[in-house]
Symmetry: C2
Subunit: 260 residues, 2 copies
């Protein structure tokens, strides 16, 4: 089976021009087939402020209303996605940037929940056939966290979820490593100590870490998603610092999560 | 040779939600291979106003400064491109939307002129190989008028030019019809009379119409570009009303321009 790396870039890196440029140079140099999934950063919030669009909150949760959807579509699928692709091109990495609507690559439905989250999409299907074709033709695919419902509606979707669903869907045809890269060095034993990285976690050590209360609450959803991905056929999940991308891939830095 | 239609949608249609929806339904129904090239409409201007970005003019010409480039990238390659693609998907047309940076599909250079136009790109190369592959895999390709220079810089490029260059580049592998659709019924003998459409123009009748001063000045660049496209291998050029797309393709409405 061919190796595929699905790499999520998130956190504050996307807002830091120099760090993003350096990350993209490292991404361009990663060998083999690869998909980059990017989040949105703070630009959408700044744009909304500049345009006088108020952030909607219901029960303390962010709502994607029509005005916010318009902004995130512009910022995520337009500005960020196209600037990432143009930079990758400058490093000789022939990338193609897509939203979920393009080629019906990620179809979703408007979230059904007790709270109306607005135009938020939960993923139904990833078009593995198209992604496989594009991975044969291009050096990389770059996915923006915007999906569609097949009925003409664009939807705002969590980028971690896009990465996980994409990695899972492609596990039938590739040996997939899923890399979550952000500003932290990995899963930390002490949230204030960047040297306290847990280098490897499996199902049983994860249970023990949780029992001992050693995992920072904010990291739990990421780890639960990681184990869900592993259960669905993803080979391994790696969490770590965006500035250390090649080391994460080599397994010399960050936290590697495997099933057993 | 397989038939290919490169269809430009421009003018005020892009700002009119109902007319755009109706056009996209007609586009989805067009048989055979097809590429849609869209302009920007007035949304970018409204966005710039909302964000307090001043329109830069030098010697009466619009300049694309860095702030304006950011806005047109968001609006053209993000909002408009992705909404068009999502609507086409809802009509069963599996379209893929691209900027010129995606897959290196349209490479350009920053315009060299006595006026500094800012981040405006003149096209160097269209990636006919990628477009040909995508036309085999997808029902349509949708191109936004944003290009890149291969060195990481996005550039604002005229959508008519994108349509013409794309049609020309694909003429080696397809019998290409290039359709310019907008709010007028075609090339008019009397600019105030929508029934005065000239149904057919060739090189010699064009020379005569120009000599007689019968062509509205604003139409001359479009017609000159049309003849340039025909000289470069495009089969025919059709100019007419967006609401009459199928009739334009059938040759029953609008103005058809052929070489001889």
């Amino acid at each position: 089976m061919d190796k595929l790396r699905v790499i999520k870039i998130g956190g504050t890196i996307i807002d830091d021009e120099a760090k993003l440029a350096s990350f993209l140079q490292a991404f361009a140099a990663v060998e083999g087939k690869k998909i980059l999934v990017h989040g949105g950063g703070k630009l959408a919030t700044r744009m909304a402020e500049a345009m006088g669009v108020q952030q909607q909150l219901v029960d303390g949760r962010r709502i994607t209303d029509a005005a916010t959807l318009r902004i995130v579509t512009m910022v995520y699928a337009g500005y960020i996605n196209k600037n990432i692709v143009a930079q990758l091109q400058s490093h000789g990495c022939n990338a193609i940037g897509l939203s979920g609507a393009d080629g019906d690559v990620i179809r979703a439905h408007k979230r059904r929940a007790s709270i109306d989250y607005g135009y938020v999409g939960d993923v139904d299907a990833v078009n593995a056939e198209l992604l496989t074709q594009l991975l044969q033709q291009q050096d990389a695919v770059v996915l923006a966290p915007i999906t569609h419902d097949g009925k003409g509606q664009l939807l705002n979707t969590n980028a971690d979820t896009i990465a996980q669903e994409t990695a899972t869907a492609l596990s039938a045809s590739f040996a997939v490593d899923l890399v979550y890269s952000f500003e932290k060095s990995g899963v930390l034993l002490d949230i204030n100590d960047e040297t306290s990285v847990i280098s490897s976690i499996n199902s049983s050590s994860y249970a023990q870490l949780k029992t001992d209360g050693k995992i920072f609450a904010g990291m739990l959803p990421k780890l639960d998603n990681a184990f869900a991905a592993l259960s669905s056929g993803v080979h391994k999940v790696i969490i770590g610092k965006a500035e250390e991308l090649q080391e994460l891939i080599d397994g010399t830095k960050g936290t590697t999560i495997i099933h057993e």
